[in-house]
């Protein structure tokens, strides 16, 4: 099966029912591509064979016959596919600047959410795309150095631990995959991207805001300006291939920071957070 996600075509093979089930649910809006064309990534997820499968069933991710990762426990087959597809992009697309950050858009103005795991970045991203923002990506922000544009991926949003319940009650209609427990990141579930985001997955957006969010339970909702030089360092530190681009990487990040409003955002309540971002969107010229 060949799935198109943004600019990429992924050929995915898996005989594992949990994987096909999750794909059917989460990628139901994604276009299928006829086989026989050019595909960016050929991947498979399959059960490991050998002695150890009798002790503990495991699952393997293969990229075109190579195995970049250690096997994982069998129930983690689908998260492994998602992580593997992220790796495909972040490890190969050196024609782009790839950041570990979520990115959403309002009228083609992109808002980049950069934060370490556990800071509530994916939760905020999931909430906002359920309130009219367009999902570009929840894990990988792709910047084309030639144009400075953000390229969409529109793949499922990964939710962890408490966020799963939070999004379930915040957006009860958003389809979520089955929860997989005991992964390296705890419990994981994926949310289907809104159909509108998938339909517009070939429309780039212009970077307009860079926000460093942080969830703290009970914290007041505050959005405050963040020093641009620090935003630069923070973003570059979150890039997979900033240094691969050398001087061009520096210029691209510098332009990105210069042309965007940079903010620190602290929140403890998701509804308040969403209204702050709506105000931000409306304030844009």
């Amino acid at each position: 099966m060949a799935l198109r996600t943004g600019a990429f075509v992924n050929v995915i093979q898996s005989a594992i029912p949990a994987v096909s089930e999750a794909i059917a649910l989460l990628y139901s809006n994604h276009p299928l591509v006829e086989s026989g064309g050019f595909a960016d990534f050929h991947v498979s997820v399959r059960a490991a064979t050998g002695v150890r499968r009798w002790l503990r069933r495991q699952v393997l991710f293969e990229f075109d016959g190579a195995r970049p990762f250690k096997p994982l426990p069998f129930p983690q087959a689908f998260p492994m596919l998602e992580w593997g597809l992220n790796w495909c992009v972040s490890n190969h697309c050196n024609n782009l600047l790839v950041f570990h950050a979520a990115v959403i858009a309002h009228e083609n103005r992109a808002l980049i959410l950069a934060a370490p795991p556990g800071y509530g970045k994916s939760t905020l991203c999931a909430a906002l795309v359920n309130c009219g923002w367009r999902l570009l990506s929840d894990e990988l922000t792709l910047i084309d150095p030639a144009s400075g544009n953000v390229l969409p991926l529109a793949r499922p949003v990964s939710l962890k631990n408490a966020s799963i319940g939070v999004i379930r009650s915040f957006a009860p209609d958003a389809p979520l995959s089955r929860i997989v427990t005991d992964t390296v990141k705890g419990s994981v579930a994926h949310m289907r991207p809104p159909v509108g985001s998938v339909q517009r997955a070939n429309e780039p957006a212009k970077p307009h805001w860079i926000v460093f969010p942080r969830f703290q339970s009970g914290a007041p909702t505050t959005l405050s300006p963040y020093a641009k030089a620090r935003a630069f360092m923070q973003l570059a530190d979150n890039a997979f291939n900033y240094n691969v681009h050398g001087k061009r990487g520096f210029e691209t990040v510098a332009d990105l920071v210069s042309s965007s409003g940079c903010y620190e955002f602290s929140y403890g309540n998701l509804n308040e957070a969403v209204s702050v971002f709506d105000t931000l969107a409306k304030s844009a010229p």
């Binding site: 064309g37 050019f38 595909a39 960016d40 075109d64 190579a66 190969h92 050196n94 050398g246």
Partner: protein, 359 residues
Amino acid sequence: MARRNLVLIALTQPRATASWSASDWDTLVRQARRSNLLGHLAFRLEAANMLAGAPPGALAHLDAARILAQHQQQAVEREVAEIRQSLAATGVDIILLKGAAYAIAGLRAAKGRIFSDVDILVPKQALLEVESALMQHGWISTHHDPYDQRYYRRWMHELPPMRHIIRQTVIDVHHAILPETARLKPDSAKLRTAAVPLEGKKGLFVFSPADIVLHSATHLFHDGELEHGLRDLVDLDTLLREFAQQAGFWDMLVERAAELDLRRPLYYALRYTAHILGTPVPPQILQAAEAGKPVPVIDRLMDALFVRALCPDHSSVADRFTPIARRILYVRSHWLRMPPLLLVYHLTIKAFSSRSSED
């Protein structure tokens, strides 16, 4: 699936790609990536003006590989500068080997090439001093297992690889191009004497052109790293084509092979580059190189093995004998490097350690 070696076709007859379908390009990119030749391919297709025919998806990957290759070229330059500075106080002459040598000497073989570590050669008696200086400048040994340490120090032609604490780059310090236990005994002193200083970089050297080729051939045909066999063969081809423009190169090459006890690897190198990549080796040189030819039965066996092993390590070109060919050649390379008892010892301990590290 048709087993077509598209990388080979794209490299030897780039014009043929003009009529390729998107599916051909798909296979090409996969084979080239797996062979570590995607960057090299990008430069070669560009030089042949054939990039325009690539579908946009393939072009993006070729572009990405080119950007990575440019970064690596710059990274190797930085790394060599750091190494040179770290060793300056020792006064030891440093000979750059393999990829780093191609890059710093500005050879065509460096274009689009993937680098993994920097290899240098220093006199054996300077090893300790060099190791000490590198440690003081932030390189630490990557092998902490006492067996590995002993193995390297006693039998190998190099120090255990050292990794830089900050940059995470790896340096391999050699004192010879083959282990002391190997069947072939190229004299390191002869290699050093013929080394060429790099202009404007005091203390830095590369091998002479003939020795660069012979080292590359020895590495490919007497070392275990055949998963990059095609990449190494492409290195050889590119080096031979570039050096062939220097007067007297071919005769020198045959002469040096005899002098350094490297006739066998030269025979294989010329035979397989000419056969697989169409390298224009003069007929009288091919004939002269036959001095290194093994007995006919071995010759035929090697043909069967190498022609498989020198393909991209990708399912689209492998046949059912490919894995066994690679395995046989791997064991052979160990056999060539070590006396049998030591070989068993080495493979046994390695087998144990790789099993335990899986859990």
